[in-house]
Amino acid sequence: MKGKKRNISLTVISIICLVLLITSIGCAQEKFSIYWNSNHDYAVYNKIFQQFAAKYGFKIEKTTMLWPEFKTKIMTDFAGGTAPDLIEAPPYWFLNFAQLGYMEDITEKVESWPQSKDWFEAAWREVTLNGRIYGMKLHHTSMAFFYNKDYLMEAGLDPDIPPKTVREFQEACAKITKAINIPGYIFDADDQYEMSWIFTEETPYLIENDKIAINTPTNVKTLEILQDIIRNGWALTPGPGTGYQMMRRLFIQGGSAMKISGPWDVQNINKFNPGLNYGITIIPYPEETGPRSLLCGTGIAICKGGHAKEAWELMKMLTQVDIEIKATKEAGMLMPRKSWVNSPEIKGMGFPVADLAATLQYAVPATVDASILALPEISWGGKVWRKFYERIIYLAMPAKEAIQLYEEEANKLIQQRLTERK
């Protein structure tokens, strides 16, 4: 009886030891953590992660999130000292995080990497703070004007000649809404999208000479036209708490005829409404000036305190031109390399990549100075900008007054920041 008991005890102890041994072997494998946007979780990148893990013997811990929770999580991680090794995020975040001291300076790495010359200049400007580089662009895109060809046709408009100027856009909204009872346009819940209206050839940047540069008669007129469209019920506006993808999904499902979006929605269209007959062009601009657009796209960067050396290797692997081309084929994304634009495969691609690429030439990093000044609140997504947007689309405040209020508040913050820095 005693022997039997001893045998059972031995078996239990052996099992526990075995479990501990196996788990400790698992733990012994070093981890490499990555935060990635859920909408960019492409198969081609996952394959690279696997190759990287095999090459360096890492266990990859990839967390995918949407932007709203992404920022909360990463800030908590920075504060708690548990930041990942590599993050994919909008490049202006890198500048904000770099000013807090959380990002790895990769200037020397970039400068000694011959391939960095293959990148568009603007792509580096977006990740540069005080002459130091804190990340690299993964996608290089811009805001573009999406329109539903079927709706334009039903309203008696030529589907191959979308509105070019703001005035034509206003007329198109009116015609479509009256003819087919579908809102001509849909404003986004994310104020970044509608920011595009006021970045024209005349005012391509939010800040110039340390002052807000968008308070011009042309912009006031554009905003008044947008307000007129809302007032007449030719456009849908979101509520203040509307989910950030909801309005785009509405367009995709045929809820409106026109919408500002970007290449990131090509995959969503293919997924949710592949039958959508749509076109892409530059965002309508005022007659008095030429077009410009907001440069977008995410980047990749290394957080301090992790596997910086290996993370840099992974960054290089992810941005090889053949990987970029594969990502474009998979999701329609545009990329930051000149050799990507010039590759025969990309040149041979028709709609939508060619149309999206055509809009890229008008794109500028319009809000980068706000990030350099560490003032996220005055740029898109920030409280001060948000108030400006809400005054225009909800309160129908006279455009001149709204833009003046924004200018005063933002300029005050800019001056405060400049004084602090002195």
């Binding site: 920022k71 509307t242 948000r386 909800y394």
Partner: protein, 298 residues
């Protein structure tokens, strides 16, 4: 040499051993973060560039118009729903407490249901219902010939909408609290009042409400805590503090300072100001409960 432990010492040691896990949790997750949070609030700057600045952040907040706006919004929200939800909860409790009422449990459960639904779900559902373009509430209003109401896009109505949602969410819970209070009231007072010819209204005013004061104080305190803290979820989901900061409650402003403006010291300072306000309310409640109210001592 053998160590001798007395019976009393044994009891003392075992009591503290049993308490140890709770003490460890309390120190690790409450007391230490409380101290670290306060220390952080005394720093100025952001991220790794922080430096000690005494009470600079508190001084900054006192001068900040957005802070006063958030405090005002929070107080209006809390005051508005505390009064309305309390009155509705008490009214429902009085109805349910009616001896002749049938299906009491069914009514109780139905009215209480909103309180067991996750606030995130409530926020999302109400956001759709209140949408001015395709929300069911405006659909109903327009179908009976009324105008569309911009529930969430108007500065004044957005806060009212949040108050309505919070009333809907908490009225059932308040009803349960009042009901338990009502059922504990001695019947003798009512019998005596009836003998003296007091009607239902007089019984309510002169017996029920005075005797319910401890419950009322408890409901008010719980509502204030709900108003200050739980409102974050609603405000974040339904309005995101907008439009034009009309629903930017204190906790949402703390979140904005910390996670959007990346200024944790300032966010911590505001957290402590909020803590002081809440502690003050709790202290008043404690003192009120201690006092003799309407001739009855709690």
């Amino acid at each position: 040499m053998k160590l001798k432990i007395t019976y009393h010492e044994k009891k003392w040691v075992s009591a503290y051993l049993f308490l140890l896990p709770a003490i460890v949790i309390l120190i690790s997750f409450y007391i230490i973060p409380f101290i670290i949070g306060f220390m952080t609030s005394l720093y100025v700057g952001r991220g790794m560039g922080e430096r000690f600045g005494w009470f600079h952040n508190y001084y900054w907040l006192v001068k900040d118009a957005d802070f006063w706006n958030s405090l005002k919004v929070t107080l209006i929200f809390t005051g508005g729903f505390t009064v309305a939800s309390g009155i509705i909860g008490l009214g429902l409790a009085l109805l349910i407490n009616e001896p002749k009422l049938k299906f009491v449990n069914f009514f109780k459960a139905t009215i209480f249901v909103p309180y067991i639904i996750a606030l995130v779900v409530i926020g999302l559902v109400w956001q759709y219902m209140l949408n001015d373009m395709f929300g069911v509430i405006n659909y109903f209003l327009t179908s009976i010939g009324l105008k569309r109401i911009l529930w969430l896009k108007s500065s004044s109505l957005a806060l009212l909408s949040l108050i309505i949602i919070q009333i809907w969410y908490t009225a059932g819970f308040n009803m349960v609290l009042f009901l338990s209070g009502l059922q504990a009231l001695p019947k003798d007072y009512y019998d005596a009042a009836r003998v003296d010819g007091a009607g239902g209204w007089h019984q309510l005013i002169y017996i029920t409400i005075p005797l319910l004061v401890p419950t009322i104080i408890f409901v008010v305190l719980i509502s204030i805590l709900n108003g200050f803290i739980n409102v974050f979820t609603l405000a974040k989901i339904v309005t995101q503090g907008g439009p034009i900061n009309a629903t930017n409650v204190l906790i949402l402003y703390i979140y904005d300072l910390g996670f959007e403006r990346l200024n944790f010291p300032l966010a911590n300072a505001l957290t402590y100001i909020t803590f002081i306000i809440l502690a003050l309310f709790s202290f008043i409640q404690y003192k009120l409960q201690e006092k003799t109210i309407f001739g009855l001592r709690k």
